[in-house]
């Protein structure tokens, strides 16, 4: 057990790598996934700005992104990753497939949240002379905020799960750590320690997300 002193710093590094990959990917996912979700909602038939053709195209792309197993996506987007980051190896490179995998996921959750905002509230804003973008900004997003926060929480947890696979492209992180030290060196205790660590991170995130969503809900 004395080798834990050797392993411990590496476990710490792996934890930071996971947090880095997930953190940056989550940020980009929110920045791009929320607008995509809004677009999916407003272009839908009966939406604020119905564009059936565009809506079908977006729906198709989003479904494709969600249907692909993440490990396949990882390989498929390698050229894109190289184009953006310059390499396909490492934590930073892993952020690209993570983001591409999570955006469609979040976009669908955002779409569901926005759809649940009562049509009457939208109509009331229209009756006040609101433009469509005003409706999105002052009605849809604020009214759906608790539900959006819950959606982002679910997405971040999914990102942590995806990030474990990023080890396959040398992305590092806790998943990679568990495979290299735990599985390949037959150290079940290391695997278990990693799992516990992941569980703690996920629990903390879910707890914080739930609390935040609840503090925003006024219904």
């Amino acid at each position: 057990m004395s080798d834990w002193t050797r392993i411990y710093p590496q476990l710490l590094d792996a934890t930071w790598e996971t947090l880095y990959m997930v953190g940056v990917a989550a940020l980009i996912t929110v920045l791009l996934g929320v607008p995509l979700g809004v677009l999916l909602t407003v272009t839908a038939p009966g939406g604020l700005a119905p564009r059936p053709a565009l809506n079908r195209l977006l729906g198709l792309v989003v479904n494709l992104g969600r249907a692909l197993p993440f490990i396949i996506l990882l390989v498929l987007v390698a050229p894109v990753t190289r184009g953006i980051v310059g390499t396909t190896i490492g934590s930073t490179a892993a952020i690209v497939p993570l983001t591409i995998g999570a955006i469609p996921f979040l976009a669908r959750l955002v779409e569901t949240s926005l759809r649940e905002v009562a049509a009457g509230k939208v109509e009331a804003a229209m009756s006040m002379g609101a433009r469509r973008r005003d409706v999105v900004r002052t009605v849809l997003l604020p009214e759906a905020l608790p539900s959006l926060v819950a959606g982002v929480t679910v997405t971040v947890v999914a990102l942590i799960s995806y990030s474990a696979m990023a080890g396959a492209v040398g992305g590092g992180g806790l998943g990679d750590f568990a495979i290299r030290f735990g599985y390949q060196q037959f150290r079940t205790d290391i695997t278990l320690a990693t799992v516990v660590l992941l569980l703690v991170v996920v629990q903390a995130l879910q707890w914080a997300g739930d609390r935040w969503a609840r503090s925003l809900a006024h219904t």
């Binding site: 009457g120 804003a125 006040m128 009605v139």
Partner: protein, 338 residues
């Protein structure tokens, strides 16, 4: 102030249902300062009709004029501008849960680009006007139905509209809250000189607040006019809907002839009875009826049974009509039916 000319609204066919003609050639005029009602059963096109006034629904044909502007000829961005002078109140309030009462009242001001300080001041003033000055920081979830509708009314008045549209504004409220909200609507109409168009399926609401009304059925106007006029007009469907023809009380005597009489402030039942009993010497009993306050006046429909001196009945009817009383003989068969 509001003028609809031959307005039609046809919703195109959906997958299963065929096309729906929601509003079928409606023309109506609401004068400045008038409190007008549109009444009809559900599915009669009322809710579509009110949405045609601020062009939340664009009419398929016909023209909509509000405050001298022909809205149906304006492009979308100008319609949006025009909507700011038309407030609207909804059945289910449609307040934003994410905002406080004051925040909801500020919403239209925000959309109109009013500065923060001015918005605050105006919201406080409006919440005072609707009697909720002390609930400015309450969330909609913390307010009762009647209070929510008061906030919604304050919100609708925030940008100083000339016209207020009410879509079943009291239908989700209990009786006490309904009375309070109707009184508030009437008061803001009087104080702010608003023109109000109110949609409802409840005759009691029309009777409580409206000066005039339109009776809608299957997207068409069946009858319309000032309440004072339709109530004293013969065979007015709207008048009959407001004050249904009385039914003879089952316990009342039989025989004789039945007269249906409409009494008003100008021709009260004392005058009618005085004419029949005092002047003509008929024997009269009241077989049924009711008297109510409508549009601030006293109106009633009575069913009189004339048991003695029936031979003088035609003369009696003539006399009453000459005195301006709305009266008609109820055919004997009708009595058998009842």
């Amino acid at each position: 102030m509001i003028e609809l000319k031959d307005v039609r609204k046809v919703f195109p066919a959906r997958r299963r249902a065929g096309e729906v003609v929601a509003v079928d050639g409606v023309s109506l005029t609401v004068e400045r300062g008038e409190f007008a009602g549109v009444v009809g059963p559900s599915g009669s096109g009322k809710s579509t009709l009110v949405r045609l006034v601020n062009l939340l629904e664009r009419p398929t044909s016909g023209s909509v004029t509000v405050d001298g502007r022909v809205l149906t000829e304006l492009p979308d961005d100008q319609v949006r501008q025009a909507r700011r002078s038309i407030g609207m109140v909804f059945q289910h309030f449609e307040l934003l849960d994410s905002r406080t009462a004051a925040g909801n009242v500020e919403h239209p001001l925000e959309l109109a680009g009013v500065g923060r300080a001015e918005r605050r001041r105006r919201a406080a003033e409006l919440l005072d006007l609707v009697g909720l000055g002390d609930r400015a920081d309450a969330r909609p979830a913390q307010l009762s139905g009647g209070q929510k509708q008061r906030v919604a009314i304050a919100r609708a008045l925030a940008v100083r509209p000339n016209v207020l549209l009410c879509d079943e504004a009291t239908s989700a409220l209990d009786q006490a809250s309904t009375a309070g909200v109707l009184e508030l609507l009437r008061r803001v109409r009087d104080e702010l000189g608003l023109t109000v168009l109110l949609i409802t399926h409840e005759m009691a609401v029309v009777k409580a607040v409206c000066d005039s009304a339109v009776l809608l059925s299957q997207g068409r106007v069946v009858d319309s006019g000032r309440l004072a006029d339709v109530l004293t007009r013969e065979r007015s469907p709207l008048g009959d809907a407001l004050l249904p023809a009385p039914v003879a009380d089952a316990g009342a005597g039989h025989g004789g002839a039945l007269l249906r009489v409409t009494v008003t402030d100008r021709t009260p039942e004392t005058v009618v009875l005085e004419t029949l009993i005092g002047d003509l010497g008929l024997a009269v009993e009241i077989a049924g009826g009711s008297v109510e306050t409508v549009a601030g006046g006293r109106y009633g429909r009575l069913l009189l049974r004339v048991t003695g001196g029936v031979e003088g009945l035609d003369d009696a009817v003539q006399r009453l009509r000459a005195g301006g009383v709305l009266v008609e003989r109820v055919p004997a068969t009708a009595e058998v039916d009842r």
